[in-house]
Amino acid sequence: MRHVLLQTSRLLAVILIPAILAGCHSSPEPQFRFNRVALLKQEKTDLSEGETYPADYQQEIGNVLTALYGTPDQPRFPFPLGAEDPGHEVLSLENLERAAGPVRTDKLGRTAGLYRELCSHCHGITGDGFGGTAPSLSPYPRDFRLGKFKFKSTPLRRMPTDEDLDRIIRNGIPGTAMPSFRTLTDEEVDALVDYVKYLTIRGQHERRLIAELGNLDGEPFMNFDLLQENDPQGQQVDEETQAENLEEFQAQMYMVVGEYLGEDILSRWVEPEDEISSVEMAPAAFRLDHPAHSNLILQGKSLFYGKANCVQCHGETGLGDGQTTNFDDWTNDWLKTAGVSYDDPASYNDFLQAGALYPRPIIPRNLRIPVFRGGNLPSDVYRRIANGIEGTPMPSSPTLSNEEIWALVCYVKSLPYENEGLPRDELPVNERVVD
């Protein structure tokens, strides 16, 4: 018995002591995750089968991004033009600091570390939509790095306004796992909006850098060694060379920050409000009490089955069963571009290893449930129909007239409550009224 006990206690010690030691030091500072899916995709497009970019390329991009954007705990932002930079209109450092970093529990009114507290479970610290809960959610949380947002007041391929992001945070997205954060204060929401934009811009920039890898020929994007006063042999560099080096570094920086970021990415984020698409006047029959209201619904119905061809995806039944094999852009981004087929999971196993989420077809909305992801106000539905939904197969509809769109809005909004053909008291099976 003694022998057994000694053995057992030794075994316990072997198991427990490392665990306790591991528990005693705190976690290392979290880092942004590198976009390995984009790199893999780039490798598949640029290089021949089986070849990869050298590991220090990834290191290099990481260095550049850390130099420009800091870390999750200490965010930075590279305003290329200093104080006059239009980037200041896009986001403010103050807001970033409020949203970034670990959750502060010492204060009661926890106004710092908001992103980590509220968002990173799903969207991940990097904003790559790969937080801890992500794989179990349907639909997956948004990956910000593509710079695409579904529900916005601007047309396709335009950036959302602050208002749009603000509304999503406050209202949530019904029918998805995105909850409504209505109880946050204005400042908190502003901070989160700016932080989301920060993560998006960082992700877009990262993708851009990865896309440029093929043009590099082994040269670094930004050679930080150029700033050193000593050369690799440890010798002092003379002033002339230093000046040259500095110039070269500035040129590199101009390319990476000024061109890639400033011109190509940031400029689109400035004043997206100018692009807001208008919601045209509705016909008088849109009013519920208008005698022609039911005619408008009928018109919407015939458009639904006819000219607008909504049935193609949403199905004749309106249950969203028309097509079930499309993917959204976030999946297509790697699934399609890299020439991988969905039917053969083995063919994209390397992408899953790199951190892509298992591809799921995007299911068209079941219109018989009164859940409107982009908002249920008539003007919201109008925009969805008129502008389409970014990143999904839902197209914009330039051929429909204003009145036709309103008719569709009217029909779509009435669809959930449409009697499917059974008496109302028979409707919800197994529904017992308790009172």
């Binding site: 119905k301 004749e316 309106g318 499917e420 053909g421 008496p423």
Partner: protein, 430 residues
């Protein structure tokens, strides 16, 4: 009374030698062996187990919406098979008693044959159970992931699921038809007809119609054609009405089509004459070539004819368009009528008649199947365990010493029998 001392003296293999010299004596609360006490206690826990299952059945059955619960006929339960099974089990309860009695009086061979008989009766029970399960399975009545074939209501979700499963079936069948075309063609034709004549028609009808009564009849008649549950005069009438109406419509459309076709023929004739005339005029004109090789300007009649030609072409085109749109209208109607003539007269419905195993509507059918398989399954499991125990006992010498074991096994077997006696009326009769 045989006491514990009896079982004491029989050394337990794991016990080894005891630390004490004397075997202990005990006083008992009940005048039976510990084994028998334990088997009674075990059976009482089993009662609680089956109480929970039967309770679930009762709750779900009486909680079913609108009092719907499939009749035995609707789910293919055959009463006489159940009655036969009851008889088999009761007989087996009797034979096990004979086996026990034989063992108690040391008639070893007789005990063994009675036990064998019990086991065989148990196997017969399982066999009949298997036949029943198989018939359920072949009718598509079983719990299934992710959705059962059975839907509780004829609604759009039913149509939608039916449609997607049908599409899958057609795809499978098409792949199969590449290998052996002859066999598949008939099935495939039928499936296409179901898809166009039933599913798409109903989808469209329910989507486009504004009359709730109409929608309801459309959905119910669709479900009825797939798998009729009982005689439905209203649906028969609806279908017949629809058929006559569609025939009239078809007639109309066909007349229209004929009219249009004759129009088209006239137009084409006109076109032919016109182009002939134009060609004539042109060649006439070309014969008037001057010295520079220039033709004269086309004359008034030629221009007139050309304009005429153009307008007639337009007209012919529009006629062709309307013909094709007419065809588009006509096509589903024709398919629907074909479906009517192909499927209306089927007594057992499409599913069973063609062995299609497509989704069907049985109100509360899912819940029925769940509880049926749960309860009878666990009961069958108990029968199986009993048979295994019999198998273990058979090679042994079934003498007086083993009679106690026989008694305990018999108690268990009676319990299994009693459970069935509860289940039989519950599932087969009420």
């Amino acid at each position: 009374m045989d006491t514990m001392a009896n079982s004491r003296t029989k050394p337990e293999p794991d016990h080894g030698s005891h630390g004490h010299a004397v075997p202990l004596v005990y006083q008992r609360a009940l005048p039976m062996s510990p084994g028998k006490v334990a088997i009674w206690l075990f059976l009482s826990t089993e009662i609680m187990f089956f109480t929970a299952l039967i309770g679930t059945y009762i709750v779900l059955r009486f909680g079913a919406p609108g009092g719907t619960w499939p009749t035995p006929a609707q789910v293919g339960v055959v009463e006489w098979l159940g009655a036969l099974n009851t008889f088999v089990l009761i007989c087996s309860s009797m034979t096990i008693v004979f086996a026990y009695e034989a063992a108690k009086s040391d008639r070893v061979r007789s005990a063994r044959s009675w036990l064998l008989a019990t086991m065989l009766l148990g196997l017969v029970f399982l066999g009949i159970k298997g036949v029943e399960y198989k018939s359920k399975y072949s009718h598509g009545i079983y719990p299934r992931f992710p959705r059962s074939l059975m839907h509780d209501r004829a609604d759009l979700y039913f149509v939608s699921n039916f449609s997607s499963q049908l599409k899958q079936r057609i795809a499978d069948e098409e792949a199969f038809s590449n290998q052996s075309p002859k066999q598949a063609v008939a099935t495939l034709e039928r499936l296409y007809l179901i898809q166009t004549g039933l599913v798409n028609w109903t989808e469209k009808k329910v989507g486009m119609s504004d009359d709730p009564q109409m929608k309801r009849l459309a959905l119910e008649s669709f479900a009825h054609q797939i798998h009729p549950l009982s005689k439905r005069p209203d649906i028969d009438k609806y279908l017949a009405d629809e058929q006559t109406e569609l025939m009239q419509e078809q007639q109309q459309l066909v007349t229209q089509q004929e009219q249009l076709e004759s129009d088209l023929a006239t137009a084409q004739q006109q076109l032919a004459t016109l182009s002939d005339e134009i060609a004539q005029l042109e060649s006439d004109r070309k014969s008037l070539v001057d010295d520079d090789g220039n033709f004269p300007e086309p004359g008034e009649p030629e221009q007139q004819r050309k304009a005429q030609l153009e307008s007639t072409e337009q007209k012919a085109k529009s006629i062709t368009e309307s013909i094709s749109s007419l065809n588009q209208q006509l096509n589903p109607i024709q398919r629907r009528l074909e479906a009517h003539s192909a499927f209306n007269q089927l007594e057992k419905g499409i599913n069973e008649h063609f062995h299609l195993k497509l989704p069907m509507v049985i109100p509360s059918g899912n819940t029925w199947a769940n509880t049926y398989f749960l309860i009878t399954g666990f009961h069958a499991l108990h029968v199986v365990i009993g048979i295994i125990v019999f198998l273990l006992l058979l090679p042994l010498e079934l003498n007086r010493r083993r009679a106690k074991v026989m008694e305990n096994v018999g108690l268990y077997w009676h319990f299994v029998d009693i459970v069935w006696i509860f289940l039989f009326p519950m599932i087969y009769l009420f």
